[in-house]
């Protein structure tokens, strides 16, 4: 079974603007000005990177010698830093731009979603823009007619359908744009970062729709910075780095590789300095650095959900002292305290020597869902605070692998819990409760889940 997309040594070069020489004499300034049309013309000509092959200074290879294959029905993610060449590959596969070198073969029809709302014109009404955008994305008029009501329903802008979209809020515009895109029925779907729009509820809907598309046996090529989304949708991922394909394999490994090469600047040995972070407290003893890794993986700088975590701390104390309370806290991005590991609850006090101290805090299971969290530190003796750092750094928590056979629903909440479903016999079924669906057909007591936000 031949691959549905075959990419062989694709390369793409772009011209970048080089710093112009600043003339330092009046004569040279005058000649520069007179000769400028010729020079400008030459520069404009060079924008056509197809006609010259050079490795000159002002040519940048956005993509260089990238090869991979995608089979029918695969959902492949492409991740990488900004400027790694992910969008360029998608543009080449969508035939928007021609490669400078290499070759790609595509068997089937591609639908590309490189931007939501392409072709939207502010003066046209919502209804007209649905047709415009749908046609641009490749749907026929008949198809749009057929799906019109669904599209309007998904977007939630029914009341405003006949108003020019320049009157819509930006959220409404994005919802309308995405709902048109979500009703594409492509054989091969290429998506570039379009899920990074809209509010949380809408993102949930979008991700759900994408999963729908991916699960119907369609081939999907997905570029995103939201690693959680990549993890849910894609079984296989490619990591791009400075125009080269640096990894191609299982998504979790790809994410590990990407994150470890892309982590925040660390001191030698992987410690993060806490010397110059904003803090409160007397300072008689303070945190100097920290290191936060999953147990057993000292080189990994992100954490796994529901797994043991080791936080190594470096403290400096001016004198020997006993400290009643040393705490490590995880906050969400908004500043809500989520997890607090404080020695005061263990009932033991810590003895600090004068000078440097190394302490390790081990959290048996980090009950946090995948996401980005802030880590903070606390050192005190009753009411006297030695050091209180609210944001020492950020930590990314990811899933080590998809649990069991199922997939986690979107918008899970911040805190995990372990749960199971109990089967009860029919006799105990209470007719007052809503009937369950086929999967848990005999359970009438649905498991309770704690969701903390």
């Amino acid at each position: 079974m031949s691959a549905i997309i075959t990419v062989e040594n694709i390369s793409k070069a772009y011209l970048i603007g080089m710093k112009a020489e600043v003339p330092d004499t009046l004569m040279s300034a005058a000649t520069k000005w007179i000769k400028s049309p010729l020079r400008n013309f030459r520069n404009l000509r060079r924008m056509n990177t197809f006609d010259h092959d050079g490795e000159t200074e002002d040519i940048i290879w956005a993509v260089k010698d990238v090869s991979f294959e995608v089979q029918q029905g695969e959902a492949v993610g492409i991740i990488g830093r900004n400027g790694a060449g992910k969008s360029t590959i998608l543009k080449i596969l969508s035939r928007i731009t021609e490669p400078t070198g290499g070759r790609a073969v595509i068997r089937g029809r591609i639908s590309s979603l490189l931007e939501v709302g392409t072709g939207f014109h502010p003066d046209l009404t919502g209804r007209e823009n649905i047709y415009m955008n749908g046609t641009i994305l490749g749907m026929t008029k008949r198809e749009i007619d057929r799906k019109f009501d669904e599209i309007v329903d998904f977007s939630g802008v029914e009341k405003f359908l006949d108003t020019p979209i320049k009157r819509y809020s930006s959220g409404m515009q994005v919802r309308l744009a995405f709902s048109v895109a979500a009703h594409l029925e492509p054989e091969i779907l290429i998506i570039d970062e379009v899920l990074a729009v809209g509010d949380a509820e809408f993102q949930k809907k979008c991700l759900g729709k994408m999963e729908d598309v991916a699960s119907h046996g369609r081939t999907v090529l997905f570029v995103s910075h939201q690693l959680g989304a990549i993890q849910r949708l894609c079984t296989r991922s490619i990591v791009m780095r400075e125009g080269h394909r640096s990894f191609d394999g299982i998504t979790t490994e790809a994410i590990d590789l990407y994150l470890s090469s892309h982590s925040q600047t660390k001191d030698i040995n992987g410690w993060t300095s806490l010397i110059s972070v904003p803090r409160r407290g007397s300072g008689e003893a303070k945190f100097v650095g920290y290191q936060c890794t999953p147990v057993g993986c000292p080189d990994v700088h992100h954490l796994y959900s529901d797994e043991p975590v080791e936080i190594n701390l470096l403290l400096r104390s001016e004198a020997t002292r006993e400290v009643a309370s040393l705490g490590v806290t995880f906050y969400d991005r908004v500043g809500t305290k989520l997890v607090n590991a404080d020695t005061v609850s263990l009932g033991k006090s810590l003895r600090l020597r004068q000078g440097e101290n190394a302490i390790s805090v081990r959290i048996e299971k980090l009950h946090l869902n995948p996401g980005n969290y802030n880590i903070g530190f606390w050192l005190a003796n009753g009411l006297h605070t030695f050091d209180h750092i609210e944001i020492g750094g950020t930590v990314e928590v990811i899933d080590r692998e998809t649990r069991g056979l199922g997939r986690r629903p979107v918008g899970d909440g911040t805190v995990t819990c372990s749960f199971s479903v109990i089967e009860l016999t029919n006799q105990m079924q209470d007719p007052g409760l809503p009937t369950a669906d086929k999967e848990s057909s005999h359970a009438c007591v649905l498991p309770s889940r704690q969701e903390a936000q």
Binding site: F50, S94, T97, R109, S112, L114, T140, K141
Partner: protein, 300 residues
């Protein structure tokens, strides 16, 4: 096929549908090959046909948006030629006393102006269409030729309204059109071909060299004097008349006037030269456009 084969322009000529989906033995799954192409490429009519829905929407969008939020709306399509006609009638008709081939100068001028307004507006829209739609060019795939084509097609609506005004003026002066009026569609085709060809060539250049856009704004005004809009073709000395007719608009305008107003005998020689010229401009323009297409997303 290897890259050497495809680089040779003769082979790419034969395999003209190199990047067009075509049915294979696997049961009509369209296979698309993407690779750098060089050389001249023919027009992919099949693809243009596939995208006809998009073409219709682009034309409709142009028209709809042009007069959005305007009180007079499509009335502006009338005001432009009528005002020009009034000014030219006063200056060239009365003051300079240019001959108008036996009919009142106003009608003489308006008949040419309706055509010329279409041509100049279509040309300017065509040249700017790629620059103005740069975001569409960089985000979706569609046959790029649809853009200048839709710009040229959208102005036909204004042209039709202009014809209505011309009919009103002719009725006022009690001029009856001759039987040659059935040739009108042919003249319009020649005009549209010229506008398309020039738009394609110039828009492809303008995307990379914006100077073209700036130049067009005033060159188009000057070009009006290269066509018999304010003066009759008979003003041109005999020996230069055929050279003059190389401008397709000469044949179109004089033919139009001859058919509608009966100013002179049908200028078949002008029409023949003009039609050939229009065809050449259209073909060369389209081929040049196809050749430069691959750059658009990169330089727009």
């Amino acid at each position: 096929m290897t890259e050497q084969q495809t680089a040779a322009s003769s082979t790419s000529y034969m395999h003209k549908a190199l990047d067009r989906p075509e049915p294979t033995s696997q049961g009509s799954i369209p296979v698309t090959v993407i690779e750098p192409r060089s050389g001249w490429r023919l027009i992919d009519w099949k693809e243009l046909h596939e995208y006809r829905d998009l073409f219709r929407f682009l034309v409709w969008r142009e028209i709809r948006v042009r007069y959005a939020q305007s009180a007079v709306g499509i009335g502006w399509a009338v005001i432009q030629p009528v005002c020009s006609m009034l000014v030219f009638t006063i200056i060239f008709g009365r003051l300079a006393n240019i001959s108008s081939d036996g009919v009142p100068y106003a009608v003489f001028n308006l008949s040419a102006l309706v055509l010329w307004t279409y041509f100049s507006n279509a040309l300017i829209d065509g040249v700017n269409c790629l620059i103005g739609n740069a975001n569409m060019l960089s985000k979706i795939y569609f046959p790029r030729m649809l853009m200048p084509m839709s710009a040229v097609a959208a102005r036909l609506v204004d042209f039709c309204i202009g014809l209505v005004i011309l009919a009103v003026l002719m009725a006022w002066y009690r001029i009856v059109p001759t039987w040659y009026t059935i040739l009108l569609p042919l003249l319009v085709v020649v005009m549209v071909l010229t506008a398309s060809g020039l738009s394609m060539w110039l828009s492809a250049l303008a995307v990379q060299y914006r100077d073209v856009k700036h130049a067009m704004n005033f060159v188009v005004q000057l070009l009006m004097y290269a066509a018999p809009v304010v003066y009759p073709a008979s003003l041109i000395p005999e020996r230069y008349q055929l050279l003059y007719a190389l401008n397709p608009m000469v044949g179109v305008i004089e033919g139009f006037r001859s058919a509608l107003l009966g100013t002179r005998a049908m200028p078949w020689d002008f029409l023949a030269v003009g039609a050939a010229s229009a065809l050449a401009i259209a073909c060369l323009g389209m081929l040049y456009f196809r050749r430069r297409e691959r750059l658009f997303a990169d330089v727009a």
